[in-house]
């Protein structure tokens, strides 16, 4: 009697286990259904031509649904070797324009050379470095590649790797 029962259990367990494996594989397929679509991943690259920018001009573009600040720095703006993006013979501040506190978009004040966040009073300098208030770190630098006078966001180039290494 005991032998018969354990044999039945084994078969039942093998059957149940096999079915469970099928269930697990379906879960993997279901997970993949939620992956970002090819069109979304393809749209993750934006090219910006910087050649027409003027000194001191702040350009805001969109990359992956986020605002990107590109500031062409003037002579009297502080240099920052750890964050400056050099394209051609000009320095640029390039950052994701979202406050690192809770994600609001800070406003650029050219008179004081500051980014000020209205949500909780955070302040960043012209390099995107946090100077006052709750933001815990400077505004993030997006992955970029320099292509002549163009900046390609979404792809990483050697200049980006260097900045990341310095951070």
């Amino acid at each position: 009697m005991a032998v018969k029962q354990s044999r039945r259990d084994f078969l039942g367990m093998a059957f149940g286990g096999f079915a469970a494996v099928g269930g697990a594989i379906s879960l993997v397929a279901m997970k993949q259904t939620w992956d970002p679509l090819p069109s979304v991943q393809a749209a993750g690259f934006t090219t910006v031509d910087l050649s027409n920018m003027e000194d001191g001009q702040l350009s805001t573009i969109t990359w992956r649904g986020k605002p990107i600040f590109i500031l062409k720095k003037t002579a009297d703006m502080k240099k920052n070797v750890n964050r400056d993006v050099v394209v051609g013979n000009a320095d640029y501040s390039v950052m994701i324009g979202l406050c690192t506190h809770l994600g609001c978009i800070p406003t650029w004040a050219p008179s004081t050379l500051q980014f000020k966040c209205a949500c909780h009073g955070g302040e960043f300098d012209e390099n995107g470095v946090n100077t006052f208030g709750p933001p815990p770190r400077p505004m993030d630098i997006p992955p970029f590649k320099i292509d002549g006078t163009k900046l390609v966001l979404g792809e990483t180039g050697p200049e980006y790797e260097k900045l990341v290494a310095k951070a």
Binding site: M30, T33, W34, L37
Partner: protein, 414 residues
């Protein structure tokens, strides 16, 4: 307040709070099913599995589908079918399962008719079952609209037009159902709501009642024998498994169900991957065009018998228009199955092969419904229209005759 003691194991912890042991006995290990059954008795579980597949595949389709006349077609045929990882799989599974579930519903229904599983205490099972058929029909119809192909649009146009046949309020009713003068965006979004929320909830509720209504009268058996479940279950629990006329739902009945489900799903997946045009009609891969009716228009196969009854009456009788006769016949056909238990005047539960007149009646009905189904698909030209008429009349006459022939059978048995 229940007496809670220190639990000896997690099973006992749940049992003290939720009576899980009692629940398992009632629902599973001591839910008694007759032994004298065949694989047709497994159709219920097959239906549950197919419904589960519809819900799960539906959930994934829902993540990417856009219920808007400008976006729907592409959201299905581009985004889901060609961009989303395995999106094509969910869509194929959903379409094939929807078609297959109706095949199993018809098999399940005709099993009930054949073995008399709708009378002597089982009327509620039949009524909830027919209500489920109605709800599934509405679910299928609303779902078919969503891809917004040519068939989606024109099926919606034709079926909503039917309500115009209702006297007095007909025309206003049609506009109200559509939310617009013609089938348009408001129609799509409200049928989307029905398909995705309201009807599934109603169906799940009905399934629960359907299962509950089975408990007290118990499942029927191949001979229609009136089993004393108390006596037989005692035998089984005493260890007399071979003599007992019953088996427990778990593991015995379900073990056979799983095997039948395995065969059903093997067939299901073969169809899903390699042979799906019957479930996903090519005409619906053309975007909806309100200015162009397709050359051939027909509903999904499971509606064809009903559709043929509708168009079977193609000539007026006196002052009554053909269209109105057809509509009345269509209404009759869809409602008459509901009152089946009350049309059968023989109170004894017996399989059809033991009821001489009913047996003939049953096979004529089955053949008639198949003729209606096939002719519902064929173009209504020439001799097809006459065959359709004869088949539709036969259907109505069969049901008119049912009370009489069952009474005769019952009288004969005495």
């Amino acid at each position: 307040m229940a007496e809670i003691t220190k639990a000896n194991g997690i099973g006992d912890w749940f049992d003290q709070r939720l009576a899980t042991k009692k629940l398992a006995k009632v629902m599973m290990t001591e839910y008694w099913i007759p032994k004298d059954i065949n694989f047709l008795w497994a159709m219920g579980v097959v239906l549950v599995v197919l419904f589960k597949i519809l819900i799960i595949s539906g959930i994934f389709l829902l993540m990417y589908y856009k219920p808007d006349v400008n976006l729907a077609f592409d959201s299905v045929n581009y985004t889901i079918m060609q961009e989303v990882e395995y999106g094509w799989l969910w869509r194929h599974m959903h379409g094939v399962a929807a078609s297959l579930i109706f095949l199993v519903i018809y098999i399940h229904m005709f099993t009930g008719i054949y073995y008399g599983s709708y009378k002597k205490g089982r009327e509620m099972i039949w009524l909830t079952g027919m209500a489920l058929f109605g709800m599934f029909s509405a679910e299928a119809f609303s779902g078919y609209m969503l891809p917004w192909g040519q068939m989606s649009y024109w099926a919606a146009q034709v079926i909503t037009n039917l309500f115009g046949g209702i006297p007095v309020i007909g025309d206003a009713l049609v506009i109200w159902i559509r939310g617009d003068f013609t089938v348009a965006d408001p129609t799509l979004t409200r049928f989307f709501m029905l398909h995705v929320l309201l009807l599934p909830l109603v169906i799940i509720l009905l399934i629960a009642v359907h299962f509950y209504s089975l408990r007290i009268p118990h499942v029927n058996n191949q001979e229609g024998e009136n089993i004393d479940f108390d006596v037989e279950s005692e035998k089984y629990l005493a260890g007399n498994k071979k003599e007992s006329k019953v088996v427990p739902f778990w593991p015995v009945f379900l073990s056979k169900d799983f095997f039948v489900v395995g065969i059903a799903l093997t067939l299901f997946f073969y169809l899903t991957f390699y042979h799906f045009n019957f479930a996903m009609d090519p005409i619906n891969f053309e975007p909806a065009n309100a200015m162009k009716t397709p050359a051939h228009i027909y509903p999904e196969w499971y509606f064809l018998w009903s559709y043929e009854v509708l168009r079977g009456f193609f000539f007026p009788v006196g002052p009554i228009a053909a269209m109105d006769i057809g509509l009345a016949a269509f209404g009759f056909a869809n409602v008459i199955f509901m009152i089946f238990p009350f049309l059968d005047r023989d109170p004894i539960v017996k399989p059809a092969h033991q009821r001489p007149r009913f047996k003939i009646w049953f096979w004529i009905l089955l053949v008639d419904m198949i003729v209606l189904t096939v002719y519902g698909k064929l173009p209504p030209i020439g001799v097809n229209t006459w065959i359709g008429f004869v088949a539709a009349m036969t259907f109505i006459l069969l049901f008119v005759a049912l009370p009489f022939i069952t009474k005769k059978d019952a009288g004969g048995a005495k």
